[in-house]
Amino acid sequence: MKEPTLRKAKKMKNTKFFILLLLALTCHAAWSQTTVTGNVVDINGAPLPGANILEKGTTNGTQTDFDGNFSIPVAEANATLVVSYIGFATQEMSVDGQASLSIALEEDAAGLDEVVVVGYGSVKKSDLTGAVSSVKAEDLPEGSSPNVQSLLAGKVAGLTVNQNSAQPGGGFSVLIRGAGSVGAGNSPLYVIDGFPVSEGGTEAGGGTYNPGNRGSLNSLNTNDIESIEVLKDASATAIYGARAANGVVLITTKRGKSGELNIDYSTSYALNSVEKDFDFLNARELMIEQNKNQNERRLFNNNVFPYGDTDISTLDPFVPPFTDADIAAAGQGTDWFDEIASVGSIQEHNISMSSGTDKSKYYLSFNYFDQAGIVKNTGLERYTGRINIDQQIREWLDFSLSFTVSHIENQNSQLGGARNAQAGIIASSYIFPSFLPIRNEDGDFSLNLNQPSTPNPVSLLGVDDKTKNNRILTNAKLEAQIVKGLRWTNSFGLDTKSAKRLTYLPRTTLYGDLANGRASQQENRDYSYLFESVLNYSKTFFEDLDLSLLGGFSYQRFESEYFGADNQDFLTDQFLYDNLGAGVAERPGVESARAASKLVSYFGRMNLNYMSRYLLTLTMRADGSDRFGANNQYGYFPSAAFGWKINEEPFMASQDYLSQLKLRLSYGQTGNSNINSPPDNPNLPVNAFALYSPNSIYAFGNIINNGVSLSRLANPNLQWETTTEYNIGLDFGFFNNRLSGTLEYFSKEVGDLLSNTSLPSFSPVSSFASNIGATESDGFEAQLTSRNFANPNFSWTTSLTLGRFRDRWKERDPSVILEVYQGENDRLRNIYGFLSDGIVQIGEDVPQLPNAVPGDLKIRDVNGQDGEGNLTGVPDGLIDAADRVILGNEQPDLNYGLDNTFKMGNFDLNVYLYGEYGRDLFNATRELFTIVDVGNALEESKNRWGSFNTTGTLPSGLTAEYRGTSDIFVEDASFLRLRNITLGYRFPEIAKGIKSMRLYVDFQNLLVISDYKGGDPETDSFSAYPFPKTYKIGLNINF
């Protein structure tokens, strides 16, 4: 009986509203207008350009110009204007018949009323209960990469961003709160305007040379970004369930606002330069050192003193590879790195425009980004376009579309890190000896006759290797208001990516020559289809209890296709990869593959807010995946969070130094469904089912026969890797938020690790996918912002982020026997090895190393083991596994970022640093190039021990014993990077029609402070594309 009454009431309300609206519209059209002009400034009197002015109760609005002036026609003389500006408290002001208004906005309490995007919705920052960091577009530094990930290092506490190789468009490793998964990946989930996008699919195929990893977000124009929210704790992420275990990054793009047309044009030009990271021997020195080495090896091979007691007179006389005349004639020789490197450049043009009425709003943009890398013939050219439209169809029905399209042409660099055949251009430029000329007298590229399979670095510049990426990401939403407070949103989207790699190895290259020219085309296509249906309900009960409920369904299907073909034996190099059929190879290659998977999900959230003081958030998600066996298709991921706004309590009302204080507690579970491929079969599609592969070929009768082997066993019990996380957070602000910040502590356990159970060596496959073991992590984060000065003519703001995490084992796979030196609960990514104690000297007897020769590393005997494989703690006169110790850990103890922004008059200056402290790396470059053999060597190699240098402190390199497993090349890789210095100048109004104009210069990466020897401590291998320094000049104009 109650129901009809309610409905009737609502009906009446609705009708009333409708009539009011109609009235308003008619009135607007019919009545005469007056115009109000005014000026918006901050409390210090500085003008605020671009502030929004809205006539209250209407959609009539405008924006202030460069000097903070505005002019708006209003319907009646006593209209009320709503003035808002980002970072300032919104103010309402009654016109009261005045023709001119002066409005001073007060700075918002650190943007407390800012709206923060969260999963499937948004919330006022002050009402957040989870650990969420928000970065607004204007806080991002200037970049030199098409990839937004490059801008986030040091910006968010708890987020670690590293670039391992800096080629144009190179990828980043992004970690949120550590890397607790050992096998299922630690990359966060990226959600762009509500569409969870998958990484990968940016590169096709392999080939002789590796183009390096590619940024998964290269196709996204960073200028389109409105804000980035990093969801860190389980309360914030659990709504994304099975993909949220590594955190979630929400990227929101700009949308149109109602108001007049706003056009932004920005352009920049940058030069990149790089210095060689390592100090290699010049030609003359290298010849001398190689002579020494040749003789030393001769003594060693023939057991002559100091390596044995054979009489040297029994040996043929030594003929050095380089004569004195050779050495005298040699000078500096070829600087191979210089030959392949050049000054790089980046130019970027971006235009965006937005406008809107109350019913239709749009944001359009176009971006052109063109980078020439610091290695010749490498680069990236990108075109992106975006259309974001919001259209009201009916009063109760809204449609919105986000559409972006991009095309990228990558000129790949050949980045293989191997030493011989697959050595890429950077690697070979280090390996190639300085005494070789670029070309021989006959005009052919030179080769090192002692390493004839290593390609000449300059010859690799002739390789034509492109990857073309296309991406369309589009998502349409239909949002209906069913009754007041109840909204229903249906969205459908498609993310389609393609990557086509085109490669031609001409005859001038080693491999091209062997194959008479080799061409290939390889293409990946990835499709991700998304359908979502979400119901939202919010209502206030008993005046001060706000309830909002959300329930939704999501279906996402992923499909990928691969096709590749290659041929060799070409008549000429002219065809490149454009005429594969012209090759006459006996067996041209052709391959294809296809895989698909699906995710079906149900989710819900409840938010309670009582008296604006007590906040409760509960979420739940159920994810079903067809990758898992019948027994565990669905995983369930709950979370709960509680927030207490202490400063809103009556007892806090009397004080005024503390402007904000909120305590947050949360608990929740999230998942990870990246099943591992078996280590010996990395290309298998990842699911929990048995599979036979037709890859065991054999040549009976010299004909290729396909053999079939069982490549995977089914595991019907396989389930999601589950992360359980607790978080405690404190948000605070002092002195009207002059000093504000957030502290977080988290503790999480990653259980049911997705891994591979090793099967005994005699089972038909070596392992099967399973859930084994657990790791745990804990850590803290601090984010502090201090507005040191806030005067109209001088302001200075400092932001500091600190983050620390520790990952360690909690429970190991019982079937894996730990090495004797490993502890049950060791940290992840430890570097284990032997301790060394200098060099074995002539005549020195090292009891624990009976076979040691002078010049070997003297390894310390620090421990022993009993028959059961337990450490005894007592040296046993033997060097074995028991003597290995923890030499370091690859993860930093602390990540930090420090950002200082100064504003003085029309000038602005930003100085931005970030770094990592307490992190160790094995320096493979020094390990390789402190040996003198037949290739290049570092200056430092002169310090190797030899009969010619018995005071040398580096091992001789004649034997490789313990070189790679001892402490000598494990180094502290802590670093501090001066990421940006940006100096800008805002022109006073220069021309009619130009609302604002800013010119800036920006210097990136000018300085890295680190004890790491040679190379950038952020890159981890000698074959990595080096980090350039960037010098940039840019102009932003707002029309």
Partner: protein
């Protein structure tokens, strides 16, 4: 108006629930075989046997030789040395450990392949497929390979547990921890299996199946096992049976290894791993590993060879031949033309790579591509049978005329003089060992031969290595195998 709104919403709701209802979680598989569709037919089982052969190639003659059984058989002996570091050195200098790559890799591959063969045999026997000649041959091939792998394990590691029972193979788990069997059990298993399959295997195949195990191959495996066990009477019986199968020495030494004689035309080869230059997975890289790098060897075919130059035959071994007379030195290269057209005496070249002659052994492949060559790798050939028979006769009856005549057949072809008739049993025994070295160099027999003659360790010492003792005649059980199964005891000495 309100009704209209409601109606539209109801329609939308219906549409949405249809979509939701149609979202199933049925897995999709493309381009792979699953237990639902494999193996069903006899051809499916044949493809499974191909996979067992593949394991032989991966162990004996893979694309890159680092961890091959071939290198385990050659590098520790006097016929080969290397300048390469890492696992190569551990083999060359007898300094391997339970963690050495080749030690672990070949162990795992063979024990795994034995289980795969056991499953295949059992599955095919159980399958509702009518068993004709084809099916019986598949079973016989799988059993032969299984026996051969068991023999290889016995030779390298001593007796080790293997899964030859179908029921046991089906239920392997981490808890499966079999004990080491006795030497007798292992020898008996291999012998019984080979004897069972010999009558079922064909003497030869049509050319498209060249490379499969034949009656002759299985008999040779049996003979080699008997030789390994010094069961001399067995060697006599088996070699006689092999000699009845029509094998003949090729007219010249080099023609055995020439690519144009591959296939049925080679009367001497008994068991080979067929190889192809064009396909990475099927090629191998012997020339790249062994040809002289500085000054660079000039390919006689005009195809440019990738040369890494890490493997050489020491001059001390080279000196066992009569230089200038012995035709078997034709491809154990001391003199050659380099890419600049100069003649090189490699013995006079000082370099810091391995020192010695270049053991080219095989003929040039016209399809050679970079480092890839496609010469079939010979595992067993007829000369080995003759020499083994001579050795067995000498052990049973001393150096009689038959034994000498067998060795002379080999020597005559090599262009060297017949052997002295004044040899004692002991000196003939030593002579046979040397002759085996000269005939079978770098074919993967030397380790077995030296061990059988008790000279493996002393030869290594003479080479300047510092072995710790006789225990090195067996490789250690890999640490990984002992970790997963503590019941496998380590070989003594490790």
């Amino acid at each position: 108006m309100k009704t209209v709104i409601r109606l539209k919403l109801v329609l939308l709701a219906l549409a949405v629930s249809t979509v939701i209802g149609s979202c199933e979680l049925e897995p999709e598989t493309y381009g792979d075989l699953t237990p639902q569709n494999f193996p069903n037919t006899s051809e499916d089982f044949e493809a499974s046997v191909t996979d067992i052969y593949r394991d032989l190639m991966e162990s004996w003659a893979p694309e890159f030789l680092d961890n091959s059984q071939w290198m385990m058989n050659s590098l520790p002996t006097d016929e080969l040395n290397t300048a390469w570091t890492g696992g190569w050195q551990s083999l060359d200098r007898l300094s391997w450990t339970p963690e050495t790559g080749s030690v672990e890799g070949n162990f795992n591959r063979y024990v795994r392949s034995i289980t795969k063969a056991t499953l295949l045999i059992g599955n095919l026997e159980e399958a509702s497929i009518e068993k004709g000649d084809f099916e019986n041959r598949i079973i016989a091939e799988a059993r032969t390979l299984r026996a051969f792998y068991a023999f290889n394990l016995l030779d390298l590691y001593g007796p080790v547990p293997i899964i030859v029972d179908y029921e046991e193979a089906k239920t392997i788990s981490a808890e499966t921890q079999p004990e080491r069997p006795t030497q007798e059990w292992m020898v008996d298993f291999i012998t019984t299996e080979l004897n069972a399959v010999i009558p079922k295997l064909p003497e030869s195949y049509e050319s498209k199946d060249y490379g499969r195990v034949t009656k002759g191959a299985a008999l040779t495996m049996l003979m080699k096992l008997q030789l390994h066990q010094k069961y001399w009477q067995g060697v006599l019986d088996s070699s006689e049976r092999i000699m009845g199968l029509g094998y003949q020495l090729m007219p010249t030494y080099t023609s055995i290894f020439d690519i144009e004689n591959e296939g049925g035309g080679n009367t001497e080869t008994i068991f080979v791993v067929p190889k192809l230059a064009q396909s990475g997975g099927l090629a191998y890289s012997w020339f790249a590993a062994c040809l002289p790098q500085t000054p660079e060897y000039k390919s006689p075919t005009g195809i440019k060879y990738s040369i890494w130059g890490g493997l050489k035959t020491p001059w001390t071994f080279y000196d066992k031949f009569e230089e200038g007379t012995d035709l078997r030195l034709t491809r154990l290269i001391r003199y050659y033309e380099d890419i600049d057209g100069n003649m090189v005496d490699f013995r006079e070249v000082q370099n810091n790579k391995a020192v010695g002659a270049s053991p080219k052994k095989y003929g040039d492949d016209p399809e050679h591509n970079g480092y890839r060559q496609g010469n079939d790798v010979i595992i067993y050939r007829y000369a080995d049978i003759l020499l083994a028979r001579a050795e067995a006769i000498n052990e049973i009856s001393g150096p009689n005329a038959e034994a000498m005549a067998l060795v002379d057949q080999i020597r005559t072809r090599a262009g060297v003089s017949e052997i002295s008739r004044n040899l004692t049993q002991v000196s003939f025994r030593d002579f046979i060992l040397d002759e085996r070295g000269r005939e079978l160099w770098c074919e993967g027999h030397r380790r077995q031969d030296l061990i059988r003659h008790g000279k493996f360790i002393s030869t290594a010492e003479a080479e300047g290595n510092n072995p710790g003792g006789d225990y090195l005649t067996l490789y250690p059980i890999p640490q990984s195998a002992r970790n997963e199964n503590p019941k496998i005891g380590q070989n003594p000495g490790y």
